[in-house]
Point group: C2
Chain length 458, copies 2
């Protein structure tokens, strides 16, 4: 029985298991649901045992548990892959905006509605189906590659304990490739693979002037105004071509290959529709790049918030004592967050006029970007596996956002491959999250093909 036939035959069984798991409200950001997150880990461990994984363990952390499973290949020389996903989910507020209960999975047409359906329980669970399909296709007792699964329980609350967990269990997690199943495809009709995510680092900048707000009649125009200085500073962040002027900002940037830019240009991108999704009236950005390239391939500096002086009703004619801004920088492969922070520090100092005092507060060490090597055999295997499942050419995308994936690549010293079937319209993090059941089944099939391809190519 080939993989696809096996998957079709087990559709109802798969959906019934997913229904059970989705009923567990494993919201990691809400302490009152922490017991549910633990129950979710136990449910998954049981399910993976039933699937046939010889080793299944719930790994405790100072926070919420991850689930680890391992199924060795018959051939001891076969490569090892590690599948990453997460079993915790986002909060459900505003709950009144849900058309059906978030933890009562409901199938309408081909869409399964529930919190976590797409992000990420559906995408974790298709791997259990996929490995059984691979076994059915090969007729063997063990998969063609050693499969490890590491399914986190705190992804939706910042992955605070996850890097430490990986470091502590580094030996058990050793692998040749990490497969990430927590992202999206271009669309249901245009299968694609994510081949990179931007990194991020962010800072709060504070400019302090006079000890107190001053009367603008007595002092205005004769002492430096912190809000004016902050505006000058932030305005200087971009030059006339919207390049970023932070010293050394672009040092080390790995430019996307012509091949990748060409594949991106082939995506059926409708800028008008994108703008309507963005609820924005015009595009903007760095000269020389398309909108998709700006979001995926280029680093950015974005003012996330700004405040100072009188912000209430009416007027108050003052020179404010201080000004504040929060700025985040999306990073691309090759940029070192620590060096970017040093450049920002330098930039702020250089743009602080005499008489003002500047402070910078970086919220953490920042997250590196990550990208797949498009010429690697692993990536080619994954693309081929998806093309077999979908029966179409698979294009490349990236994610403009950032995640813990770069940590996985760095700590495990393994290249990343993104095999995922979420869609932008799945409304992850919002009310009425859903997933497309046919895509979950294609995900399972892609995984089954991938294990075979990786074994054959090794």
């Amino acid at each position: 029985m080939d993989a696809r036939a096996y998957i079709e035959a087990h559709r109802e069984e798969f959906l019934s298991s997913l229904d059970e798991w989705l009923r567990i409200p494993s919201i990691s950001a809400e302490p009152e649901h922490h017991e549910d997150v633990r129950a979710s880990a136990d449910w998954l461990a049981d399910h993976l045992r039933a699937t046939g994984f010889p080793t299944v363990e719930v790994w405790q952390t100072p926070g919420l548990p991850s689930v680890f499973a391992e199924w060795p290949a018959a051939d001891p020389d076969a490569p090892t892959v590690l599948v990453y996903g997460h079993h915790d989910v986002q909060p459900v507020d505003p709950v009144e905006a849900w058309e059906t209960e978030p933890f009562t999975p409901t199938l309408r047409g081909t869409s399964l509605y529930a919190r976590g359906a797409s992000d990420d329980k559906g995408q974790v669970l298709f791997h259990a189906l996929g490995v059984r399909a691979a076994l059915a296709a090969s007729g063997a007792d063990a998969p063609p590659v050693t499969i490890k699964m590491l399914i986190e329980g705190e992804e939706e609350s910042g992955s605070v304990h996850f890097p430490d967990l990986m470091r502590e269990r580094r030996d058990r997690l050793d692998c040749d490739t990490a497969v990430i199943s927590d992202t999206t495809m271009w669309s249901a009709d245009v299968p694609s693979m994510c081949v990179g995510m931007r990194g991020v680092t962010d800072v709060q900048i504070d400019l302090h002037g006079p000890d107190r707000d001053l009367h603008s009649g007595s002092f205005g125009g004769a002492v430096p105004n912190p809000l004016q200085a902050m505006s000058d500073l932030l305005s200087a962040l971009h030059d006339d071509d919207n390049h970023i002027t932070v010293p050394g900002f672009y040092d080390g940037v790995v430019e996307a290959t012509d091949e990748e830019r060409e594949l991106i240009a082939r995506l059926p991108f409708d800028e008008k529709e994108w703008l309507s999704t963005a609820a924005s009236a015009a595009t903007w950005g760095e000269k020389g790049y398309s909108t998709l390239e700006r979001v995926w391939l280029r680093p950015t500096a974005e003012i996330n918030g700004m405040w100072g002086g009188h912000i209430g009703e009416g007027r108050k004619t003052i020179v404010p004592a201080s000004a504040h801004a929060k700025v985040s920088f999306r990073l691309v492969p090759g940029q070192d967050p620590v060096k970017v922070q040093q450049g920002v520090q330098e930039f702020v100092e250089a743009h602080t006029p005499a008489g003002l005092r500047a402070g910078t507060d970086f919220s953490g060490p920042g997250t590196r970007a990550c990208a797949s090597d498009l010429s690697s055999p692993t990536l080619k295997a994954a693309r081929s596996a998806m093309e077999q499942a979908f029966g179409k050419e698979v294009l490349f995308t990236r994610e403009g956002g950032s995640g813990p994936e770069a940590d996985i690549a760095e700590i495990l010293d393994a290249p990343l491959v993104f095999v995922a079937v979420g869609l932008d319209e799945d409304r992850i993090h919002a009310p009425n999250e859903k997933v497309e059941v046919p895509l979950l089944l294609k995900g399972a099939e892609s995984a089954a093909h991938l294990w075979r391809e990786l074994a054959e190519r090794s």
Copy 2:
């Protein structure tokens, strides 16, 4: 008996009257004290009748009353002067910061402590003493000029009904000169006359971008960011020399004369001390002007407040939906607030990038600046009168702030002369307001000399 001797002889009587008046808590901004403001008007009316003014009237308004008094000169061809001041006072909070009760006048050394002692009851009352001193000096039954007094009851709560009152009673208020006694001198040792006040107009600028905050990973760097655009806009308000770039902003500006700039330069200005008063670490401002010139003679654009996006704890990586700023412009003689507002409107439109929508909200029509004509006989008479009282050269100052005085000049079509003896250290509007009694007596003497000088020079 000369004016000074008369004033010395009546010092105790004057202080006893002032003590009575200061005990009335005439706080116009607090409705529970509105009866006190009415009582204060009645007290003053009685006092001016007792002083000898043949006509004394309490003028009702839709708000709180003003007091009008008139004492015609013996000579029907003598000029008419109108004295402006106010009988309402500021609130007293924080009342616990007062060393003695705000409405229990207390003399410590030469300082009389009470709310309203300097701003403005002490300065109104010295005119009653001054006119009696003028009569004593001349031996006549009527003053050498026709003296009108118009003492407002809502100055500390925005003078909302005062312009209308002046327009309605325009005929009764007809005068050749308006004498304003509601400002300060340089210092007790350096007598000076204020010869101008800046005007003001202010605006709230709003920039609207996407309908909602956007995820900076998905949209950052590819749609216009309202906070970035607001920073660019506000940064463009000043050029490299800190001149203001609003179109037509400097149109019509009447430059101060060399004589005035020279007299300003002769003031014993200690920039270090001024900076410590400003609680600021450095000066800043328009190229080509000294600090005092920047505050007194030059128009300014000051950002009073600014906000948008995420302004709480922690980080939120968004492209904010909107950005907001409050900006006020101090104006100098010759600038038309309405034209400045048109220029600001034009400036905002020109600096709003494609994809954003701008709004401007001016809080009112704005206030014109006012300035005395330094070459006018009236001003020369006033300066000479003060020099006789103080026995010293009188220098010129201006006020960087703004008040209803420009309305007085405009509605009454009369030049303004500021004869006032308050000091910056009188703590008007703050706890422990005080006035220097010797200066109040010099004020009375200045007034007595001024009436004589004006009659002689007419």
